[in-house]
């Protein structure tokens, strides 16, 4: 194991929540991911960046069980796991908040939070009061205070509030790893701030968070580490505190796709 040769990084004292090693995935003749390593630790916000076609979405979909991987290994809390379907991912505690949110506009906040996982009794009667109380509690726990009533329809919410509901739904199920796909893409300045603060709170609660974004400003505000993909390969892993936007942009656009030996969170650019 080459990983044991590198010294344990100071930041990651515990086992990573999720560690992907040598992930390879191709669609026909197109090599979408080539020997990609990726990791994220509990309590950490790991940004995943790269130009269009760098393989961000493919990597996420592999982790979420939407695409099966061709080769490579996924470790969850140090144990090798096989994620064959979104259900497998959910069972491990991996939740993905997709860019287009996947909320039902005609349903209210509670109904959306519990969509597909409604609490019911033996004859499928919904336990509305219990669900409503838990929704209020969850949103309060995330300090989402801008939603006036959890019984208003999601269509009446602002973009930031909708994103909060989508994130709240992801964390309500004892999830361990939350993957956010472009959570601030369509939001204004104030709402972006709200969502980024929410992202930080998730990490503060001990969850592992993966943040996919094109917006480096957001990433430098919210992320602890930054993984850069380029053309389906690892380009670099940066520690946010020890790097600059220029460095990251350079890695995104001109970084030499290189295997980073035993991703270490200490921020050296791959030589």
């Amino acid at each position: 194991m080459t990983e044991t040769l590198s010294p344990p990084p100071a930041a990651a004292t515990s086992t990573p929540m999720l560690e992907a090693r040598g992930i390879t995935k191709s669609f026909g003749s197109v090599q979408a991911l080539d020997d990609v390593d990726f990791e994220v630790s509990p309590g950490e916000v790991m940004a995943l960046v790269g130009d269009n076609g760098a393989g961000k979405s493919t990597l996420i979909k592999c982790i979420a069980g939407i695409y099966p991987i061709d080769s490579g290994q996924v470790l969850f809390e140090g144990n090798p796991v096989s994620i064959q379907s979104p259900k497998d991912a959910a069972r491990l505690g991996i939740e993905v908040v997709y860019q287009d949110l996947a909320l039902c506009d005609n349903l209210d906040v509670v109904q959306n939070m519990y969509l597909g996982r409604e609490v019911h009794d033996a004859i499928f009667r919904l336990k509305e009061p219990a669900m409503e109380a838990r929704t209020v509690e969850t949103l309060k726990g995330l300090s989402v205070t801008t939603i006036r009533s959890v019984r208003q329809s999601v269509a009446s919410l602002s973009g930031g509030q909708r994103q909060s509901v989508a994130i709240g739904r992801a964390v309500m199920w004892n999830s361990r790893l939350v993957i956010l796909d472009e959570p601030t893409a369509a939001l204004g300045v104030a709402q972006t701030r709200q969502v980024l603060e929410l992202v930080r709170r998730l990490a503060a609660q001990g969850l592992a968070v993966v943040l996919i974004s094109h917006n480096l400003h957001d990433i430098f505000e919210a992320a602890d580490r930054i993984t850069v993909l380029r053309l389906g390969r690892n380009a670099a892993v940066f520690d946010r505190r020890a790097t600059t936007q220029q460095e990251v942009v350079h890695a995104i656009t001109a970084g030499v796709p290189t295997k980073v030996p035993g991703i270490s969170g200490t921020g050296e650019v791959a030589e």
């Binding site: 997709y98 039902c104 005609n106 597909g116 009061p129 006036r148 208003q152 329809s153």
Partner: protein
């Protein structure tokens, strides 16, 4: 974001607050049952001014039996519309159910099956039709409009094939005929009203208590009390009125039981929630782990099965089936009823009760026009105009809802 957004604002629950919230909702395009109730009041006032027999007890019980079948079929339509789909086959599928019970009950026929069993068989077989048509929609992905249009033609052909050489089958089985023609005795009617009031009170109060216990009470007790009183007055009023003539019809009780049951399914069960979710955003429902295909199949079975039950009531009312079974205005009346009652054609919005609301409007107009003695040409034109008004209202309120971000 202004500072006001940072505080949790608890919506008030005084009568004035609730009235204001309702008014705001109407302004924003969420009109609910208001247009139907206003329309109904206008229609009743108009026909009463033309013919004072319109409001007699006899005509009241008539109206209930007339609208029972259409309401039953329209309940199934509501579910299909909630998905954002359509079922054009319900007319002739209801006819198929009529033919099935009629064939089964023929005395000394090759397979004499009577009464409730015959009705159950008809409902099961029509549900299988729904499963078949639903498979094309849910599994293969053929648009429901085309699948059920094909069904409309096909099942019409089957009816002609089945009874073409006799032309008409008389239904002599009294159990089947009673679904449309039985009237409860005065005492039985009052007992049923009392039972209904007791059940309504129980469910309303248990809801209040449960919300209290979870600390999310937003019930205004004055309004809860007003609802209870209102329900009691309507229930007993209807029965007492009907008792002045033949008594309260069984068909009316059947329709109310169906409405309560399907409302419960739509609004209180996991399945119902998933129907709304699929109608609102099928992709979101799929990602949330809902089996969208399964939901679609079940909804098309509900639609056909309810059409089957409605067809039995139609046949029972005529004591026979003929070559026109399920034809004429059955299909369009049922769909129009659901839409006039306020169920959106665009999916995801609507309630089971809209089947009753719309059927009330259509049947009241039809009944009134017959009573006043206008020709049926007027009936078609008026019903058409009402349908157009209802769909226009739906489209406008939808735009307003989008604009108001509700």
């Amino acid at each position: 974001m202004s500072a006001a957004d940072d505080t949790v604002e608890v919506p008030g629950n005084s009568v004035a607050d609730l009235a204001r919230q309702r008014f705001e909702a109407i302004k924003a395009g969420d009109v609910g049952t208001l247009p139907v109730l206003v329309g109904l009041a206008l229609i009743v006032a108009f026909f009463y001014s033309k013919n004072s027999n319109f409001l007699t007890a006899g005509n009241f019980t008539n109206l209930i039996t007339q609208m029972a079948a259409v309401t039953t079929i329209a309940i199934g339509v509501v579910f299909v519309l909630l998905l954002g789909e359509i079922d054009l086959s319900i007319g002739y599928v209801s006819g198929i159910a009529g033919v099935i019970v009629a064939q089964l009950q023929i005395p000394d026929g090759s397979w004499e099956v009577k009464g409730v069993l015959a009705i159950v068989i008809a409902i099961i077989l029509t549900s299988v039709i729904g499963l078949l048509q639903g498979s094309f929609v849910a599994i293969i992905g053929v648009p429901s409009f085309v699948v059920t249009l094909a069904g409309l033609l096909f099942w019409q052909g089957v009816i002609l094939q089945a009874i073409g050489d006799v032309g008409v089958i008389t239904i002599e089985d009294s159990t089947i005929n009673n679904t449309a023609n039985y009237f409860f005795s005065d005492t039985a009617g009052l007992l049923i009203a009392a039972g209904a009031v007791a059940l309504f009170a129980l469910s309303t109060l248990s809801g209040v208590v449960s919300r209290r216990r979870h600390g999310i009470s937003s019930d205004n007790l004055a309004i809860v009390a007003a609802k209870l009183v209102g329900f009691t007055v309507v229930a007993f009023g209807a029965v007492i009125w009907a008792n002045r003539e033949r008594g309260f019809p069984f068909a009316g009780v059947l329709v109310i039981v169906l409405l309560v049951f399907w409302t419960w399914v739509a609004e209180r069960t996991t399945f119902g929630r998933h129907v709304y979710a699929v109608g609102g955003n099928a992709e979101a429902a799929r990602r949330a782990g809902i089996n969208v295909r399964n939901i679609r199949l079940k909804v098309f079975m509900i639609s056909s099965g309810m059409a089957g039950l409605g067809g039995v009531i139609f046949a029972a009312r005529l004591n026979s089936v003929d070559l026109g079974a399920g034809g004429g205005t059955v299909l369009l009346d049922a769909i129009a009823a659901a839409v006039i009652g306020g169920t959106s054609l665009f999916g995801g919005r609507g309630r089971v009760i809209s089947a009753l609301m719309g059927a009330l409007i259509i049947s009241t107009v039809a009944n009134g026009i017959d009573l006043v003695g206008y020709s049926s040409s007027i009936k078609f034109m008026v019903t058409g105009a009402i349908l157009l008004a209802a769909v226009t209202l739906d489209a406008v309120s939808r735009q307003r809802l989008v604009r108001a971000g509700r």
